[in-house]
């Protein structure tokens, strides 16, 4: 379980790191780019909150709620998909 948690944490951190050059490439004044910027910042914050959740539960030896993790991942994927669609528009 621990190794899976670590993998998940690495994936979430990777999402955050990868988004930096992407955000850098966006336009800064048009409304769609700013919307996309907001969505990607939200993705980063959600990733961070999931990492924080996993870390906290690991530290205190509590059970990590699989439902929460699943919901968070679905939310992240939905947001990434929305952002890509917005980019293609």
């Amino acid at each position: 379980m621990i190794s899976r948690v670590k993998y998940l944490t690495i994936i979430l951190l990777a999402v955050q790191v990868m988004s930096i050059p992407y955000l850098w490439s966006l336009g800064t004044t048009d409304a769609i780019s700013q919307g996309e910027f907001a969505i990607f910042l939200a993705i980063n914050l959600l990733s961070f909150s999931m990492v924080a959740y996993i870390y906290r539960k690991e530290e205190t030896g509590e059970v990590i709620g699989r439902g929460w993790i699943l919901a968070g991942l679905i939310m992240l994927l939905t947001l990434i998909y929305s952002s890509i669609m917005l980019f293609l528009i």
Partner: protein
């Protein structure tokens, strides 16, 4: 973590550890309001670099921020929605405190400080609304300032001078700007410091419905509570960003006296309930001071609540009067806000006001009576809750949703009967009343079946 801890001494016990039960979002509504305040501080300071507080340039500079400044629209939008969130969170924090009696001994002063912080938060909203100098914001602010004239002298003159000055629009905008960016943040920070000190002194208030022994375990502020706060603050921030992405700010037209003459002044949503009360026909003209006194009385009653509700009892299941009054207050507030939103500028006949407000109070009182009667028949302790099966829990949630829709629909139908098409309202009313009644009956049935007494200890 250890790296930060060893350099910054974060685990040094200068802060009281928090009980495990407090790692729950309901205990951190105030903290989230502070997070919203910090976000507003950061976005506001960046906007200050471009904003010009003069009637001729305020709107132009706001448009410049939105259209020309990198990420300007994003900043404006986030600033706006976090302001809304801060007001909403402060209100939820207050009402949660009311229902679980955090205002009782020894936390009376904390309550007073919290109320003052709430007033300052509303002040932020009032002063910030004017700054873009749109026709909507300027007209509504003028109405607000006009109301001050109805207050008794010399209070009226002093307040008008303080917020508006005697130099016309330029002075008014400058005063509002100063209040918004200097005076109110400074006052809020002082109050926040005092409240944090008092929180250290008294600690987090125990749950009003009792507590399991294992939940009494405490965890240190660093890293446990800090990480938990970071986690919920991130989720809150993500929510704000998503709302900002989906509903970007659209600026109304610039203020001009000609345009204002054709615009119905309407305040922002958090003042709509006051606006609606002031539109009741009975409060028109000479009745205005009475309406203002009534609104002021509501604020004063909340402020001095610790000195009114002085009993030792904190359990909501044993405080039917205050719980019912609190529910009526929230329902009336929501109804007045929605009503104010759909009827801008309309004067409301007194009998209609009485019908709507009276019906809501009646429905809540009857519901409250039924629920408290159900509660008192079958008592159990709070520890009885986990015994409810998962299916019963889901049905309970579903019934709560149906009940909420029933309350909303009933209010809506009554409003339609009163103001619009009676036929449409009459058709919908039995449906919603049916849903409401069914949900109440089934809720009481589930509570009876599982011997839930809303937290009361079963002595049998």
């Amino acid at each position: 973590m250890e790296w930060f801890n060893s350099r910054l001494g974060l685990s040094y016990r200068f802060l009281r550890p928090a009980p495990l039960y407090a790692l729950n979002p309901f205990y951190w509504l105030g903290a989230l309001a502070v997070v919203a305040f910090v976000i507003q501080g950061v976005t506001g300071m960046i906007m200050m670099l471009y904003y010009v507080p003069s009637p001729s340039d305020a709107y132009k500079s706001t448009l410049y921020i939105i259209n020309e400044v990198p990420y300007g629209r994003f900043l404006e939008t986030v600033h706006l929605y976090t302001a809304y969130a801060m007001i909403m969170l402060a209100f939820m924090h207050m009402m949660r405190g009311y229902f679980v009696s955090v205002h009782k001994r020894p936390r009376e002063i904390m309550w007073l400080i919290g109320m003052l912080m709430g007033f300052v938060t509303l002040g932020f909203g009032f002063t910030g609304y004017l700054l873009p100098w749109t026709v909507v914001s300027k007209s509504a602010t003028d109405v607000g300032i006009g109301m001050l004239a109805a207050l008794p002298q010399p209070l009226s003159s002093v307040l008008i001078f303080l917020v508006s000055g005697a130099g016309g629009d330029a002075t008014q905008l400058l005063r509002f700007y100063d209040l918004h960016v200097v005076v109110l943040p400074a006052v809020l920070l002082v109050l926040l410091t005092v409240k944090m000190y008092l929180l250290e002194v008294h600690g987090i208030s125990d749950p009003a419905t009792g507590i399991k022994e294992e939940k009494r375990k405490v965890v240190p502020i660093f890293p446990n509570v800090t990480i938990y706060l970071a986690q919920i603050a991130s989720i809150f921030g993500a929510g704000m960003l998503l709302i900002s992405a989906v509903f970007p700010l659209q600026l109304p037209p610039e203020f001009s006296p000609q345009l204002a003459a054709n615009t119905v002044a309407q305040p922002d949503w958090y003042f709509l309930w006051i606006y609606q009360i002031l539109k009741f026909s009975v409060f028109e003209g000479p009745g205005l001071p009475v309406a203002l006194s009534a609104v002021t009385t509501i604020f004063i009653l909340f402020f001095i609540l610790p000195f009114i509700d002085k009993g030792e009892e904190r359990n909501p299941a044993r405080r039917p009067r205050f719980i019912t009054l609190g529910c009526i207050f929230i329902a009336e507030l929501l109804a007045l806000t929605y009503w104010g939103y759909i009827s801008p500028g309309q004067v409301i006949p007194a009998e209609q006001a009485l019908l709507v407000l009276g019906s809501i109070a009646l429905v809540i009182t009857v519901l409250s009576f039924l629920i408290y009667t159900g509660i008192s028949k079958h008592g159990t302790s709070i520890t009885g809750y986990p015994k409810i099966g998962a299916r019963a829990g889901h049905i309970f949630v579903l019934l709560t949703i149906v009940g909420s829709l029933g309350i909303g629909g009933t209010i809506d139908s009554i409003a339609k009967i009163a103001f619009y098409s009676p036929i449409e309202g009459v058709e919908a009313l039995p449906f919603f009343l049916g849903a409401l009644t069914l949900s109440v009956i089934l809720t009481i049935r589930i509570m009876s079946k599982h011997k839930i007494k809303g937290g009361l200890k079963n002595d049998k």
